[in-house]
């Protein structure tokens, strides 16, 4: 057994513990630096993971093969760590304005991060469940962190109940899968997946597991919580939910449908297509009349979940790689958006779109970054979002030759994108279009946030302008899938 495979996770957990201890000795006004240090470390870990074992070569196993380090997990870990780093930066800035314990917030982020990374490496239903629960339980606290705000508490309760409900489905599903296959181990299930795919009990179980994971990704029919929780939670939490929690769900979906039971993915093509299509439409349509920025991104996250699921539904390596790329682009885009939103919410104490009016004047950097993020989310070249959508659509069209219904899904995706232009560009409009607005005072942007924004914008541009490297990495990451 090679414990070093767990290195990043162990470091994170250790860091979390260390921060908890440090909290005792560091004076309150200095605790922000703890978050900063954690961010730097997360970024360093991300770089380590990118160069670490398994990303390109053969997968490595630990703990009775229940923990796997392969391309897929490596890719997602890099995503999670980057997200974590930026969210920590955001949290440092955010915590500054809270009259509340801050170190715990950083610690919880770190633990959630560890949970996501463990989930990415899970090769067994038990590990998967426990890792996911680590993420979920942490997020219960993170969402309701501002317990002097009713909205935050309400978001927390909603996330709690619905999260627990989805966990219940997940657990029951795991039970059924276990009953049908006689094992919790992914590899053993994969070995007999061909016959299991026809096993009704296994199908039922996997449906429930899918339901549980769909909750994380905010997919229909488990999508309803997302807008409420996004709106109510503190901005850093929302950002982390949008990319981290979603990513954890996605990596498990990819692993389950790509590696564990690919036959099922083929069999369930219509289901996954339908869910993807409905999610896209639901998210896009509901976002149209939205005025709250965070809520808007909640709906948008549903639609984006749908796009991701398209890639999974294609049950092809190209599709899975597209998912990976898509999420990588989504990472920078959403983080940039939330960095700006968090700034705006803190300074202006509202997240209504109209609050953005005149932002290009008050904080050109924020406005430009948010505009880029929105345009990238909409999928316009030369930004990351475009290439992600392109890859997903490419994977989709590739299936069209065998099953024309895919073209219908393409139609739905197009409609979704067009509608998404509507609301994303509505945000751009709010910032740039001349509206009479009395308050034109300059909004200060802390240097740390500027750096984070620069990183995100660079990511958005780099993934759009030079997608080759990441795409090749994504292709290598899914090379081990049994598709």
């Amino acid at each position: 057994m090679n414990l070093s495979l767990l290195g990043p996770e162990l470091v994170l957990i250790g860091l979390g513990l260390a921060l908890l201890l440090a909290d005792l000795v560091v004076p309150p006004d200095r605790r922000r630096y703890l978050g900063g240090a954690a961010a730097v470390l997360a970024l360093a870990l991300a770089l380590y993971v990118l160069r670490g074992p398994g990303l390109a070569g053969e997968p490595a196993y630990a703990f009775g093969d229940r923990f796997v380090v392969d391309g897929l997990s490596g890719f997602f870990k890099a995503i999670f760590l980057t997200a974590g780093a930026v969210v920590l930066v955001l949290a440092v800035d955010w915590a500054h304005s809270q009259q509340q314990a801050v170190t715990e917030y950083f610690v919880l982020i770190l633990f959630a991060l560890a949970g996501m990374m463990l989930a990415a490496s899970a090769n067994d239903f038990t590990v998967m469940y426990v890792a996911l629960e680590l993420v979920t339980v942490t997020f219960y606290v993170l969402t309701s962190y501002q317990r002097n705000r009713v909205a935050s508490l309400e978001a927390g309760v909603k996330y709690l109940i619905l999260g627990a409900l989805s966990s219940a489905f997940l657990v029951y599903g795991i039970a059924l899968c276990y009953g049908a296959s006689g094992t919790m181990h992914f590899r053993e299930i994969a070995a007999k997946s061909a016959e299991l795919a026809d096993h009704r009990l296994f199908q039922l179980g996997m449906l429930m597991v899918f339901g549980g994971l769909a909750f994380k990704v905010a997919l229909f029919p488990f999508q309803v919580w997302a807008p409420d929780v996004y709106e109510g939670s503190p901005a850093p939490t929302t950002a982390f939910l949008a990319i981290g929690s979603k990513g954890a769900g996605v990596v498990l979906l990819v692993r389950l449908f790509g590696n564990v039971a690919p036959e099922l993915a083929l069999k369930w093509e219509p289901l996954l297509m339908g869910v993807a299509g409905i999610s896209i439409l639901y998210g896009s349509l509901c976002a149209i009349p939205q005025r709250s920025l965070k809520r808007l991104l909640g709906y948008s996250s549903i639609a984006n979940g749908g796009f991701v699921l398209i890639g999974i539904a294609t049950a092809s390596k190209a599709g899975s790689a597209a998912v990976l790329f898509y999420l990588a682009g989504y990472l920078f885009t959403v983080l940039a958006a939330f960095l700006v939103i968090s700034m705006v919410v803190q300074r202006l104490e509202t997240d209504d779109i109209s609050a953005l009016s005149g932002l290009h004047h008050r904080a050109p950097l924020l406005a430009a970054a948010l505009a880029l993020a929105m345009i990238s989310l909409a999928g316009v070249p030369p930004l990351a979002g475009f290439f992600g959508k392109f890859l997903v659509l490419k994977a989709l069209v590739d299936q069209g030759a065998s099953f024309p219904a895919w073209y219908a899904l393409a139609g739905v995706a197009i409609v979704g994108v067009v509608i998404s232009f509507w609301y994303y560009f509505g945000v751009v409009r709010a910032m740039y279009w001349p509206e009479s607005n009395g308050d034109l005072t300059t909004l200060p942007v802390p240097p740390l946030i500027q750096v984070a924004l620069a990183v995100c914008v660079a990511g958005i541009l780099a993934l759009g302008l030079f997608p080759g490297t990441v795409w090749d990495a994504a292709v290598a990451a899914v090379a081990g899938l049994r598709l």
């Binding site: 633990f111 560890a114 606290v141 009990l201 039922l204």
Partner: protein, 166 residues
């Protein structure tokens, strides 16, 4: 004998479960909590029938003991009585019933149709050492993760219920 016990335990567990969620006589959360405890107890009886003695014990200790006490404690602390005042939404109830019945029906049908019962024999014996071995060898990783979960829960609970915010 086992079959009879199964019928008794299962029937009681279902009955108490039903009374937990839909007690026709009272909607007091205390009653629900108590019936839930009973359900747990009968369930642990079923676990015993399944030769999962350790789990049965844990079920009683953790669930019926710790968790439910926590529940009762909170109920008492919050002094909840409001639900009784409110009207049932008939449409909501009907829709909920249909949805749940659908889920149940599909699950049951699937279980029945899958034909898993015929071939399998109840074979697993002497489970506690086996469980311990598994836990600390193959399942060491989740075991450790769970510790982090518990830590998180601890931190979270403190954060959420600390009276004064610093």
């Amino acid at each position: 004998m086992t079959d009879l016990l199964f019928i008794v335990f299962a029937g009681l567990a279902l009955l108490c479960g039903f009374l937990t969620v839909a007690n026709p006589f009272t909607r007091s959360p205390v009653a629900s909590a108590l019936f839930l405890v009973l359900t747990m107890v009968w369930l642990s009886g079923l676990f015993v029938l399944l030769h999962a003695f350790f789990i049965a014990a844990v079920q009683i200790l953790v669930y019926a003991g710790a968790v439910m006490v926590l529940f009762l404690f909170v109920i008492m602390m919050l002094d909840l009585r409001e639900e009784e005042r409110r009207q049932w939404n008939r449409f909501g109830v009907a829709a909920g019933l249909i949805a749940v019945a659908g889920l149940l029906g599909i699950t049951v049908l699937t279980v029945v149709r899958s034909g898993i019962s015929g071939e399998t024999e109840a074979t697993l014996e002497g489970t506690t050492p086996l469980l311990g071995t598994a836990l600390f060898t193959q399942y060491l990783l989740p075991f450790e993760i769970v510790s982090v979960v518990l830590l998180v829960a601890m931190v979270g609970v403190i954060l959420l219920s600390k009276r004064e915010l610093k």
